[in-house]
């Protein structure tokens, strides 16, 4: 039984609530090389007129990013301990670990029920993040079912792979913050890798990296000096920048220098992995802080990965579609 996760709403008297951030996130992989995400997030002091509740629903089908970002106010949203919902979409958490995600944004409509295949990782204790902090809880591999439609075209059904996490904390978009994150799910069998580290905005000062490896019921966490991270190459400019109005405001971020290749290497005792991810397409999400005048730029990088290593006495290899994020 997976303990229930909860939305971490701040107390009414919390003096840091202006910088409150909280989101429920689901990635879905498939059919074929499709990579999608549904994310519903709260930005700022709940119930304040400045508070924003944002729905992001995107699907990359190999030729284009479908969906959009819809920004609304707290008054338009339904936020509880187990869900964040807006008229455009919602993500809800069930006590057994199931994640229910639905969205209807632009040409993309989906309704997914994702059940965990492996246990959730314990929530990470809040870590320093810019002038604030960030917390994180991960369900690295789920099995998702449900319809996905692009316009009038229904994508082929069947079970898809999914990843879920929940982030919360206190910071302002536009602060000197960044992160690298990636979800890599073996498409043809069991196995998943999750990578994460916080950085400064320029990705010059990096926090301790974390790699979570799951396969065949075994699990291993690699951190700190046991992990090597290498970015190289340059990806093509973002194929879409959202919201469109923010993209128009930030023409200077039209061609960011986003690396195209990520290589991870992790080693601890006899266990370890080597992973290489290659970017295929980038979508840029422009995040405006509702309180300060700052903006951050989150790059959703869809692509493909291959990995191999050892875990619990056995060798393994994995491959499949993957998504990496780079925040700056």
């Amino acid at each position: 039984m997976i303990p229930a996760d909860v939305v971490r709403l701040p107390a009414p008297t919390d003096p840091t609530a202006d910088s409150y951030k909280d989101w429920l996130h689901l990635n879905v992989f498939g059919p074929r090389d499709c990579i999608g995400l549904v994310n519903v997030s709260v930005h700022g002091r709940p119930a304040d007129p400045s508070c924003q509740v944002v729905t992001t629903a995107l699907l990359h089908t190999g030729d284009a990013w479908h969906g959009n970002v819809v920004t609304g106010s707290w008054a338009q949203a339904a936020v509880g301990l187990d869900r964040i919902g807006t008229p455009a979409g919602s993500v809800a958490l069930e006590p057994g670990g199931r994640v229910i995600a639905g969205a209807s944004v632009d040409d993309l409509a989906l309704h997914l029920v994702a059940a965990p295949v492996v246990p959730a990782y314990p929530a990470v204790e809040p870590q320093p993040f810019g002038t604030g902090w960030i917390g994180w809880r991960v369900l690295p591999r789920l099995s998702a079912e449900g319809p996905i439609r692009i316009g009038d075209h229904a994508l082929s059904g069947g079970t898809r792979l999914a990843y879920h996490d929940h982030n919360w904390g206190r910071w302002h978009w536009g602060d000197d913050i960044g992160w690298d994150w990636g979800s890599f799910l073996h498409g043809a069998g069991d196995g998943s890798v999750v990578f994460a580290r916080t950085t400064d905005r320029a990705h010059l000062r990096c926090g301790s990296p974390t790699v979570l490896l799951d396969r065949a019921g075994a699990r291993r966490t690699f951190t700190g000096d046991r992990v090597r991270v290498e970015w190289s190459g340059q990806a093509a400019p973002p194929a879409r920048r959202l919201p469109g109005a923010m993209a128009a405001l930030h023409g200077d971020h039209r061609r960011p220098r986003i690396p195209a290749v990520l290589r991870l290497s992790a080693r601890s005792g006899r266990d370890g992995l080597e992973l290489e991810f290659t970017a295929r397409s980038v979508a840029q999400l422009i995040l405006a802080d509702p309180v300060t005048a700052g903006f951050s730029f989150l790059h959703e990088i869809g692509g493909h990965f291959e990995a191999a290593g050892r875990l619990a006495g056995g060798s393994w290899d994995m491959a499949g579609p993957a998504v990496v994020e780079r925040l700056e």
């Binding site: 089908t61 008054a75 919902g85 008229p87 455009a88 405001l249």
Partner: protein
């Protein structure tokens, strides 16, 4: 909690797909834009008036054209022009024109402003300071829209009113009017000056 239509937990439609607001004209949209800016962010509205100053602009969207200016008291003066080339359409400091499909593509993040300009789908004309003022005014409105729900709602209303049916590969059609960069200049003295200062890599035409 929610005062709206509730969370989208299924395959329902988002509000901008099935709620069509009042059928506003271009004049009404611009008036409402400035009004909501003033109500939500008076400082930004003051910056907008300061940037625009006493300039007059002609704004065109599809086949509708309006003249826009601020009066001395800071009030918005806007009038629809039926003959842009006639006397009422003259004496402006700058002009800007585009179409509904281009605006929709920009708001959907499917197209960049720079690309639309180079494709000839957004036309901006005027003296350099007037063009700069026009872009600064747009920046002020966009930045305010990031934080003012009332401006976002107006944009959603516009999208709902003018949205076209999306398709699975809804990409902008290839342009046949893409201009090169840098654009050809018609002022030979300007060409020579920019080349001499290293701001233009093509030498001026032989006639200079």
């Amino acid at each position: 909690m929610s005062a709206g239509t509730g969370p989208g937990t299924g395959l329902g439609t988002s509000p901008d797909q099935n709620v069509r607001g009042p059928d506003r004209s271009l004049l009404a949209y611009i008036s409402e834009l400035v009004s909501r800016l003033g109500a939500g962010d008076p400082a930004a509205a003051d910056r907008l008036r300061e940037v625009v100053g006493d300039r007059r602009a002609r704004i065109g969207l599809d086949d509708v054209t309006v003249l826009v200016a601020f009066d001395r008291a800071g009030g918005l003066r806007i009038v629809e022009v039926t003959d842009p080339d006639g006397p009422a359409g003259a004496a402006v400091d700058g002009t800007g024109s585009t179409t509904h499909p281009v605006v929709l593509d920009l708001l959907a993040g499917r197209r960049e402003v720079a690309d639309a300009v180079l494709d000839g789908d957004i036309e901006i004309r005027g003296h350099a300071d007037a063009v700069a003022a026009l872009f600064s005014a747009v920046d002020i409105l966009l930045e305010a829209a990031a934080r003012l729900p009332a401006l976002r709602e107006l944009a959603d209303e516009y999208v709902a009113a003018h949205r076209r049916a999306p398709s699975p590969s809804d990409l902008p059609p290839p342009s046949t009017t893409r201009r090169g960069w840098p654009p050809d200049l018609h002022d030979a003295v300007e060409e020579a000056l920019l080349y001499r200062w290293g701001l233009r890599h093509r030498p001026p035409s032989p006639s200079v």
